[in-house]
């Protein structure tokens, strides 16, 4: 029988014992939430299932559960444990007795409450929301029927149509950039794309880039880029103005 593989089914934890130990040591599981008596019960049940007494397993279990108990006790009395250690045996016994008496009182009080609850078992009463405090009156100002009619008339009118114009992105026409790049290439044999569009808005830059791709497809220019994000160099290929008029009508929106 291997203690570490002991399967546990507790409120705070479900799984093998060694996982519980690992979680506790990593402080991912708070020992204060773990029912250690439940672990002992699980171990005893497993032990009872076997005919012979496995002394080795019992020894290992005792060591582990004792360590857990000590850790839990320390967690419950973080500062007071240190205080207790500093006390003389006489004082420590005194302090322990005081605490045991305190718990004894709590248990007695609980017993009294239990009796009281049993005695109150035949007391039925209505349960409801919080006591109804007298409501503060909010008197209405004198009202004019005509005001009511006016408000109703307002409600009967169709509200103005909501403008959706801001919802659509407006791209500048690609054609304007087609012309611009052609003119540029008539004057110079090559240019830097970034320098040409640097001053433009993002949407204009997008349209300009589409124009560039369009011209590339038409075989009017060639595009080079040394590396990703490097400047895009554009150079003239040939003087070919066929099909200009068709591509000039092309816009992003119609695409």
């Amino acid at each position: 029988m291997i203690v570490r593989e002991l399967e546990l089914d507790l409120d705070a934890f479900e799984g093998p014992f060694d996982l519980l130990l690992a979680l506790v040591l990593k402080e991912e599981l708070d020992l204060r939430d773990v029912d250690l008596a439940g672990i002992v019960t699980a171990f005893l049940e497993r032990l009872a299932e076997r005919e012979e007494l496995d002394l080795e397993a019992c020894g290992e279990f005792l060591v582990l559960i004792a360590a857990l108990l000590e850790l839990k006790a320390r967690a419950l009395f973080p500062d007071e444990a240190a205080e207790l250690a500093e006390l003389e045996p006489e004082e420590a016994a005194e302090e322990l007795a005081r605490r045991l008496a305190e718990y004894r009182r709590a248990k007695e009080a609980a017993a009294w409450l239990r009796e009281r609850l049993a005695a109150a078992g035949d007391r039925y009463f209505r349960l409801g929301p919080a006591p109804c405090a007298p409501k503060v009156e909010t008197p209405l100002a004198p009202q004019d029927p005509e005001t009511l009619a006016r408000v109703l008339r307002l409600l009967a009118q169709d509200p103005p149509d909501v403008s959706l114009s801001h919802m659509a992105l407006r791209f500048p026409p690609v054609s304007q950039f087609l012309e611009r790049f052609r003119a540029l290439l008539r004057r110079r044999s090559r240019f830097d794309f970034e320098t040409e569009v640097g001053e433009m808005t993002r949407l204009e830059q997008a349209s300009a880039f589409l124009a560039l791709l369009e011209l590339r497809r038409a075989g009017e220019l060639s595009i080079e880029q040394a590396a990703p994000f490097a400047p895009i160099r554009v150079s003239r290929l040939q003087e070919n103005n066929a099909e200009d008029e068709r591509t000039a009508q092309w816009t992003v929106r119609s695409a």
């Binding site: 409120d11 708070d30 204060r32 939430d33 419950l76 009395f77 007071e80 045996p89 006489e90 016994a93 005194e94 322990l96 007795a97 005081r98 605490r99 045991l100 008496a101 305190e102 718990y103 004894r104 009182r105 709590a106 248990k107 007695e108 009080a109 609980a110 017993a111 009294w112 409450l113 239990r114 009281r116 609850l117 005695a119 109150a120 078992g121 035949d122 007391r123 039925y124 009463f125 209505r126 349960l127 409801g128 929301p129 919080a130 006591p131 109804c132 405090a133 007298p134």
Partner: protein, 200 residues
């Protein structure tokens, strides 16, 4: 002659008692004498006189409805003899099966409250989280500020529902628990005996 209505009534206290009956039957929680006085628009002294009248009318074995002084106020409840019929009509989630842990936690909060979960854990020796959550859900305890002037652990106190469920007029009705002195001495002696054996 400036208050003719008062003159017509043969027994003003009886009229006031009827008003109190009406207030108590519509209220969903115990009403204090002050609340009754405000609602009935009358003096607190006369309210107390009228309450005595109502209490005579609505007493155990005389009526199915009983007037009781509970949770710092006055309320109607069912007569004890009618409990079986009431039990067939509905059950009471607030009272159902309180565990030993819940009762001990409740006792600590009732006696020492407001107090925090660490306080309860210190006395009981185990974490009180689930017991506290259980009692909160039943409405028997409620949050009441925090330790260390607001920065520390949440503190709890018992609610008026607690007093009502346990039939207490107020928390001062809880019995004194300082008469366990003899047992404390006995525990102390036992501990000393163990300590002596070790050192011997």
């Amino acid at each position: 002659m400036d208050r003719p209505l008062r003159l017509i009534s043969t027994d003003p206290l009886d009229k006031l008692a009827r008003t109190l009956e009406a207030l108590l039957v519509v209220a969903s929680a115990p009403l204090s004498v002050e609340e009754l006085a405000a609602a009935a628009d009358d003096d607190p002294e006369r309210i107390e006189d009228a309450l005595r009248l109502v209490g005579e009318r609505f007493a155990e074995e005389r009526s199915g409805i009983v007037l009781e002084h509970v949770a710092g106020g006055w309320a109607f409840r069912a007569g004890r003899e009618e409990a079986p019929a009431c039990a067939r009509l509905f059950e009471r989630p607030a009272q159902r099966s309180l565990s030993q842990a819940a009762l001990e936690t409740l006792a600590i909060v009732a006696y020492l409250g407001p107090c925090s979960r660490p306080d309860v854990a210190r006395i009981r020796g185990v974490a009180a989280d689930s017991a506290v959550a259980n009692l909160l859900e039943r409405g028997l305890i409620a949050e009441a500020g925090r330790d260390n002037g607001g920065g520390g652990a949440v503190r709890y106190r018992t609610t008026p529902l607690f007093e009502r469920v346990f039939g207490l007029e107020s928390l001062s009705e809880l019995p004194r628990l300082d008469d366990v002195g003899a047992e404390a001495a006995e525990i102390r002696d036992r501990l000393h005996a163990v300590a002596e054996k070790r050192s011997a």
